[in-house]
Point group: C2
Chain length 301, copies 2
């Protein structure tokens, strides 16, 4: 997977940190997660082709997470896009977009599909052979969901020499690939784990957008490869975090630890803080492998 | 007056030319004219304080002219703005904005007033002691108005020595300032024009947003100090200009000439053209004082 941070600020954009958006390459798809104002400009700045976007996932209807969507959808049309676009997001998002398209008398050149997310129950919202996406209910001032993107495990490979030595049939191969042991004509059993290997390790990415600290998320994202968790505040503003339904760096680190995540990415910083070092300093003692987001950051995993 | 070009592209933003927006200082007010996506970021880049904005004028509901408005309105709120904001624009603009504020459960910290513009009849839509603003119906695919901003003429000054020599009373002074001649006790008449002068020359700015060439605009903006006129195309794409209800550089120059404008500013260039030189080359033989817009351009007049 490859993740590019498009915007990393909370609430209001600055000239260096724009509002929330990330671009994920996973399962052969281009995935835009949240779409703050100016995302289409930022994507150009980071040399990401707009047409690479297949899916858009919107966590909630606070403007810093979706005000750039209508512009992106319009630009796709003006560029003559023909491939369909699927937008996963909260109820009423389709009304906001469609109202603006109608008032500008725009009939899109491509099919635009909205899939409404359920803010209450975690569920699989997309699945194909290569990837599965689930929604994760969060705890914010308005209905909000996070998202978990999981690559599907590939079938294992069988040792080449073993195939030759035992002259395996297609039926044997399918059986072993699907987990079976091999028993030869003499009745000798070869355990599946001894004759197969996995070249491909499936990765996963969890996007935990605006939320209060919600410990039960950990179970839903257990063993995730990369966990993004918002850290609007430091612990010095714990009261404010609770009051505004946001999280601190400490809380994000606690969640990453209890989820047994491999890596933690933090962002959505309040403009009250001048740089992100203090966020890492607060998180790292609890979860050492913590990276602060900045606009343009790329992570391969 | 002082004009800053915030965005100068048509339809789709590039990294160097964002979509339509301009900031005008006139009559003691900060005036934002159109508000393409990312305007609030561009204003920061050009060091214009967001709180300097008193009025917003939106020409029409194509996204490249207003998709940044909802973000700006939200940011004002998040910054704790208290002074009212007046938005002049087409019917339904208020619905678009209010729907998004309601869905994010935002109750603004300041008063937001919408004034609906009439797309059919030119009319005065704002007036105070220092400035008058009129709407100018344009000819585009959807209802569109331009705007004319006129500083009000100041009362003239009276030559100081004349006041002393003739020991003018307050009544005399008021009478002369309002155009009267002065007649002294001997019956000698001093003509108004011989004893007064104007330090202040009132300026005007016309913003002619998206439109087909519409020669009768010239009369409405006659003798304007600075005329902005869109030039989406060059004459080599005259057919396309007509088809899409836009203007060419030649047509903008013709309008500036027949309006007897002092200066012409052109912009809203199609991305089909790589630079703006060709636009000036086409306009200048007809109207020499032509300036091409770029993001960040400042004009004092």
């Amino acid at each position: 997977m490859k993740l590019t941070v498009i915007g990393s600020n909370s609430a209001v954009p600055s000239t260096t940190r724009w509002t929330s958006s990330q671009f994920l390459l996973a399962g052969g798809k281009g995935i835009l997660i949240d779409c703050g104002e100016g995302t289409q400009i930022r994507l150009q700045m980071f040399e990401i082709k707009l047409n690479a976007i297949d899916h858009v996932y919107i966590s909630h209807l606070h403007g810093d997470h979706y005000f750039g969507l209508v512009g992106l959808i319009s630009t796709f049309h003006l560029m003559g896009r023909t491939k369909p676009l699927t937008v996963f997001g909260p109820e009423h998002l389709d009304e906001i977009i469609n109202m603006q398209l109608e008032l500008s008398m725009t009939k899109l050149s491509y099919q635009l599909v909205f899939i409404v997310t359920d803010p209450n129950t975690p569920q699989v919202i997309y699945k194909d052979k290569k990837m599965e996406v689930s929604s994760i209910p969060l705890d914010h001032r308005i209905d909000t969901t996070g998202f978990l993107f999981k690559e599907m495990a590939h079938l294992p490979n069988i040792n080449k020499q073993f195939i030759i030595d035992h002259d395996l049939s297609l039926e044997d191969i399918n059986n072993i690939k699907n987990g079976g042991d091999y028993i030869n004509v003499h009745g000798t059993v070869f355990k599946n784990k001894d004759i197969t290997y996995n070249k491909f390790k499936p990765c996963s990415y969890a996007y935990i957008s605006d939320t209060m600290y919600k410990p039960d998320i950990a179970e839903l994202v257990s063993n995730v490869t990369l966990l993004y968790h918002e850290t609007t505040f430091l612990s010095d503003r714990q009261d404010q975090a609770i009051d505004k339904f946001h999280s601190t760096a400490r809380e994000a680190a606690m969640l990453a630890k209890s989820a047994n995540a491999e890596q933690l990415l933090i962002g959505h910083f309040s403009k009250r803080y001048s740089d992100s070092d203090a966020f890492v300093e607060e998180a790292a003692p609890i979860f050492p492998n913590t990276t602060p987001a900045y606009d343009g950051l790329v992570i391969y995993f």
